[in-house]
Symmetry: C3
Subunit: 268 residues, 3 copies
Amino acid sequence: MTSYGQSAGEILDRIRKSKPVVHSITNYVVMNSTANVLLAMGASPIMAHAPEEMEDICRISSSLVINIGTLSKPWIESMHLAGRLAAVMKKPYLLDPVGSGATKLRTDTAVRLIESSLPNVIRGNASEILSLSPQGATTRGVDSVHSMEDAVDAARTVSRSLGTVIAVTGERDLVTDGERSLIVSGGHPLMGYVTGTGCAASVIIGAFLAEEKDSVVATAAALAFFGLAAERAAAVENKPGSFWIRVLDELYAVTPDELARKTRVSEA
Amino acid sequence: MTSYGQSAGEILDRIRKSKPVVHSITNYVVMNSTANVLLAMGASPIMAHAPEEMEDICRISSSLVINIGTLSKPWIESMHLAGRLAAVMKKPYLLDPVGSGATKLRTDTAVRLIESSLPNVIRGNASEILSLSPQGATTRGVDSVHSMEDAVDAARTVSRSLGTVIAVTGERDLVTDGERSLIVSGGHPLMGYVTGTGCAASVIIGAFLAEEKDSVVATAAALAFFGLAAERAAAVENKPGSFWIRVLDELYAVTPDELARKTRVSEA
Amino acid sequence: MTSYGQSAGEILDRIRKSKPVVHSITNYVVMNSTANVLLAMGASPIMAHAPEEMEDICRISSSLVINIGTLSKPWIESMHLAGRLAAVMKKPYLLDPVGSGATKLRTDTAVRLIESSLPNVIRGNASEILSLSPQGATTRGVDSVHSMEDAVDAARTVSRSLGTVIAVTGERDLVTDGERSLIVSGGHPLMGYVTGTGCAASVIIGAFLAEEKDSVVATAAALAFFGLAAERAAAVENKPGSFWIRVLDELYAVTPDELARKTRVSEA
């Protein structure tokens, strides 16, 4: 067991005991599935987007997850408000920039959210993360990232220029604050045949951030936990519908001890 | 078989034969799962929130369920319109005040909906129901409700002051119109690890109200039906993802005869 | 193996290889399930409704599916914009007129969408399709369609008057461009106990349209594929919750060869 494994087990144990409230402003597609992810693992989801109740919701929440998957103007305003409230109330806040780089609206929204209230963690795939790079910080596109070393370099550059923890999820996951960089193994290719697995990773990180102040450690632990649940599910189900139901089962079933033993996190 | 069991079986039989249309204005998180609940049990869901079609929808519906889980201003206006139309067209109407008491917006919205068109039934957990108590009707908070007797007293007080049937769901469920009070047994702790189980209870009551004029009897029967389906599901699945899929299966499989025999409703 | 079977297998093979991006503007109830349908079968869903990103989304999409299940004014405007962009950019476009005929808002919205940008295919049940008939094109209501021959006649009339391919799904499915008319066998009555099966058929057609220019052939192939997956699911699961999960599994598992052999399409 590594010290990262031990930390991961301890954070999961705290989540199961304190059932932190994770506030999500997220896309319509994954609301049901990410609420189920949080409940299955032992956390408490709240989904709310009305500006009129944002302050009340922020006060009773332990962390905030903003996901820009199905944007519209009123929702963007609510996201800005929630981000600012999280900053003021010192609640950890994760941004999932779904589709940033694919449309101007998404890239602009992600960039402005980062400017108006810096998230503790930004999680995306490689192209989403590279799209957030301030002009000049990186001149390379996604296609030029050919190896894990290249990916680590690019993520570090984005992390340093934005001043926040970056998580790049893919075949292996990468977490960096610009100095420390961790590589997390786990997961399964079937995740690509189910909607909202990236969004699920984000809310799981949201729950871990609620119980661990070191954002790099919390993020790596959350990704190790999700990856382990997915691997266990894929060991018994090899098609996407049944696989996802089993992932929910495993998020409930994985114990802190198992997570501690099976976390595979290494320094990059 | 009690007379409550017999009624429950007869109502379920009528639902399976007439497939009543249940109109829901509900939260984004549970739309898919509550539509599946209604279809699996043999009813017909309609989800619609545009004011322009509210009158047409109300006319073809047999009952209305309003759930305030993910509010915004335009949706609140639609809820008021739907409630008033249900009153005018004499369609039974249930209110699910999700999160009332947790934010001012939710409490105010629930209270104003009750004022503008009195629901036939309000279903919530203990804290949601207590938050609806008119000032002075109860001075006790949720934490002071220590026994089923206390809960019955509190629910009766709210029911009398609002003039409507109250259903408080929890480990055991309680249904009261201020005079008659029924306790319904059933369900399983795994329901706490799945999103939308309370919302599912609400739409099932909505379907039962469409086929039974006595709201206390209809509500208790619906909760007995849902509790039985959950117990049967939990007998074969002990993790939340698989459990919920099995609940949908059992809502389809439970027969009116089985429901009649296994309904456990007692007078408080 | 018929030539229709061969075509169906070849289109599925192309989908699995090129993973076409299918843009949906759809109802809240089915967003999660139709995204999962597209991913399981090997396509790539995008859900987006903001007018600000519609042009960017249209540019990166291979086809468009508009579904009017939970309308509101801003969404109707986005649907018009997306339809016009699809016409300009020559992307195939399917309209699913959910509930047309049931409310004036839905009928009007469907009719106006057809006027503002003619879809390549319209898929609905018999009553939805008949509601789209221009005044006088058919004087018969749904109840007067007593046989498959009547249904073929009615669908042909609507197809000719609108100038687009019509798909009427039911116990057997019917696809016509006014000249050629195909009947597709497959499916299972359990589909009536799950929400969004019609909407699932629509997005599957959307994926097939992305890879086959002959809209009649693409639509019949898509319906044969969905029907085969449903039959295979129903062969092992006889209750709606488990059945639907298994349908997702089968959409992933059915091979192009199996589809080619088992497609049952006949000329009407």
